[in-house]
């Protein structure tokens, strides 16, 4: 490596030189298209307000961001800060490469009690906080108004309970021949995180309170999975098919994410509505939650401080209002969700988003454990076994729990 010493020296000299003049921070994210543009605009605004600070936002495709961070951490070539999908946070905090934010938070104006509880379970390790939520998304019901009308149903009244959902779906199937409700039957995270909503609807949970053992193989779980099986076999309003029936107008209702309030209107040729996802009579309103967290990598105190200053600014309510209006992300803080300009924007510009914003207090996080992806896949595999009639719901969930248990030790 001797040969490369001059290069290293040059890099160090350059860094020292540039530090004395100005600070350059790099920021890796996966916000594409319009979202990336909104971020850039906000960064430009921040740079204008803070001369001497340059933030270089680098887009990394979402499917590869974690791999890129993984190699960067292994090679000690990390950016100043980055975001990630919240599910990857337990993995990222295991690296020891992130900066604990507790001291920064306590010395700043960031009010942790203003945040929705759900996203805050991520980014914690050994009692310290390593990341802050910056955006959220969640799930709710979409329905096809044209199919509702065709079936003689009121196109503006979605089901509020599972029972109504079944009733309407059966009328639709009978009158139009189209599927009443589209289930995600292909396994993986898609099946898992949608099913978790039904589990919570029934009052169940994915893991035990201390995250040490599976809890989905409960009475609530059996009933939730039985409901899925019944939608296919008993009520015959759903089918096992590749995902996308709703988008093509072949199914009347579907559970999908808040981001689809942007995509569906662009891509489908029918009118659609959205609503808080139905719950069983005597059950609970619930939704699942996605979103991003922001974090800083270990460098020197000045750079870390500069990165924190940006995060503090980015997390402030006025900036978050602008961010959520620009991107359609769901607010992560109550002060944003209750902000009058934000609410006015949703009502006027993106009414489909309203049920998602209203669902946020009922948004449960997926368990913040490192092995979540594997537990989730295992759960999804056995859900699919039950949907294909290979196992009873009890048998499926008990087997899944048996396989998942060792992953939590």
């Amino acid at each position: 490596m001797r040969k490369y010493t001059p290069t290293f020296l040059a890099v160090i000299l350059f860094s020292v030189f540039s530090l004395s003049l100005a600070q350059k921070l790099t920021f890796w994210h996966y916000w594409d298209g319009a979202n990336g543009q909104v971020l850039q605009n906000l960064i430009d605004q921040y740079q204008e307000e803070n001369p001497g600070i340059t933030i270089e936002a680098v887009f990394v495709p979402g499917s590869e961001l974690v791999s890129k961070l993984q190699t960067a951490i292994a090679g000690r070539q990390t950016p100043t800060m980055a975001i990630s999908d919240l599910v990857a946070m337990p993995f990222l905090t295991s690296s020891g490469a992130l900066v604990a934010l507790d001291d920064y938070i306590s010395e700043s104006n960031v009010d942790m009690s203003d945040y929705f509880a759900g996203p805050l379970v991520y980014g914690l390790r050994d009692g310290k906080r390593y990341s802050l939520p910056v955006s959220a998304s969640n799930l709710a019901l979409f329905w096809n108004k044209a199919i509702f009308a065709e079936a003689g149903l009121d196109p503006d009244t979605p089901p509020e309970t599972w029972e109504e959902l079944v009733e309407m779906a059966q009328i639709i199937k009978e009158k139009t021949g189209k599927w009443g409700y589209e289930l995600f039957t292909q396994g993986g995270e898609g099946t898992s995180w949608q099913w978790q909503v039904f589990l919570w609807n029934k009052g169940g949970d994915v893991l035990s309170g201390d995250l040490s053992s599976p809890a989905f193989n409960s009475e609530a779980g059996f009933e939730a999975l039985q409901f899925w099986v019944d939608l296919i076999d008993e009520y015959e309003v759903s089918t096992v098919a590749p995902w996308g029936l709703f988008g093509r107008g072949e199914a009347a209702m579907v559970m999908d994410g808040s981001w689809m309030t942007q995509f569906f209107p662009m891509q489908v040729n029918f009118e659609l509505g959205s609503a808080v996802f139905p719950y069983p009579e005597g059950g609970e309103i619930a939704t699942n939650m996605g979103g991003e967290q922001i974090f800083i990598f270990n460098t020197d105190p000045e750079t870390q401080q500069a990165a924190w200053n940006f995060i503090e600014w980015f997390s402030s309510t006025p900036v978050q209002v602008e961010w959520d209006r620009g991107t359609g992300f769901i607010p992560i803080k109550e002060s944003v969700a209750n902000d009058s300009t934000y609410i006015a924007w949703v009502k006027n510009a993106r009414p489909l988003l309203l049920p998602f914003v209203e669902s946020m207090p009922y948004a449960n996080p997926r368990p913040p454990v490192t092995k979540y992806p594997q537990i989730s896949d295992t759960l999804a595999n056995y859900i699919v076994e039950a949907l294909y009639g290979r196992m009873s719901p009890q048998e499926a969930l008990n087997t899944a729990a048996q396989e998942a248990a060792p992953l939590l030790r």
Binding site: G96, A97, G187, P242, T370, Q374, R390
Partner: protein, 311 residues
């Protein structure tokens, strides 16, 4: 030059050179191989060995904790029913895809090596699948395989056959993946065969024709033996690729339904990149490697050094 019959020359078979003679060739061989050895040594051999080393550890790729676990990863692998399922799926895929794509590639190449109208256009069209990005290809094939809307089942319905629900039927999903794999490979095989067919001296055909050989006989006794080195090359590389197939499965079925398309490449991806088990994924990679290596060695043995066709 005497060319009484098609003959492929394999240096080193006819006369056994002495050690001194082979040693004498070393400097010149080094010259020809230097770039290869330097680049592959640095950027392939070293990382490959490093990953072998990792297969004896439990590591997620970022954690400072990296406990040595000996052969645990391998033991876990061999006792996992998931692994044996993946192995079975992969072997079926590899065998079916390789054979079908080889036969079709050869047919297309032979047909397009004739003096027929539109030859250049045909070649370009048959090569399009190789160029078409996998994401786009996967998406469109998903449409084509759609049980009710898809072109394939509509066509079958037209012939009075009720098509299966391809991608959601555990007994058909792998067939669908094989079809797409073949679709993507035929053009590739065609190009290699076409390049090889250019090397077939015309005189062989002329001689065969003078002997009164039928077109089939000319194909069987002239073309086929002369294409043997290419066939060998294509079989070896197709199997190597097929054992590692990942992207088609990722785009089309995500290993499902019910793990019926959970090929080893996808299995490895899940553990390496979704479950962050780099040590275990490396063990999978090395078992895969051992398997492909043995299969390749057998092929070399059977074909005597990859120069098939010596009579």
């Amino acid at each position: 030059m005497t060319l009484s019959r098609p003959q492929v020359h394999n240096e080193g078979r006819a006369k056994r050179p002495t050690f001194m003679r082979t040693f004498k060739n070393l400097p010149i061989a080094l010259f020809f191989l230097l770039p290869t050895v330097v680049i592959l040594g640095t950027f392939n051999f070293y990382p490959a060995l490093y990953s072998l080393y990792l297969s004896f550890f439990e590591w997620n790729g970022v954690s400072p904790k990296r406990p040595f676990v000996g052969l645990d990863n391998y033991q876990r692998l061999f006792s996992s029913s998931e692994f044996w399922n993946s192995l079975q799926v992969t072997v079926i895929y590899a065998a079916a895809m390789t054979v079908a794509a080889l036969a079709l590639g050869m047919i297309v190449a032979v047909l397009l090596n004739q003096d027929i109208r539109g030859r250049a256009l045909y070649r370009a069209l048959y090569f399009l699948p190789v160029i078409t990005p996998t994401v786009a290809a996967g998406v469109v094939w998903k449409y084509l395989f759609d049980p009710s809307q898809g072109v394939i089942n509509r066509f079958l319905a037209g012939s009075g056959i009720t098509g299966p629900s391809w991608l959601t039927d555990p007994s058909w999903a792998l067939v669908a993946i094989v079809i797409v794999g073949v679709w993507k490979r035929v053009g590739f095989n065609m190009v290699v065969y076409l390049a090889a067919l250019q090397g077939v001296p015309r005189i062989y055909y002329e001689a065969a024709q003078l002997d009164g050989a039928s077109p089939w006989q000319r194909f069987r006794f002239v073309t086929l033996p002369l294409l043997a080195p290419s066939t060998f090359f294509l079989t070896v590389t197709a199997l190597i690729d097929a054992f590692q197939v990942f992207d088609l499965v990722y785009v089309m079925t995500q290993g499902g339904p019910l793990k019926s398309t959970d090929v080893i490449g996808y299995y490895l991806y899940r553990y390496g990149f979704r479950y962050y088990e780099l040590g275990f994924a490396s063990a999978i990679a090395y078992v895969m490697f051992a398997l492909i290596f043995v299969v390749t060695l057998i092929q070399f043995r059977l074909s005597r050094g990859g120069a098939q066709g010596e009579n």
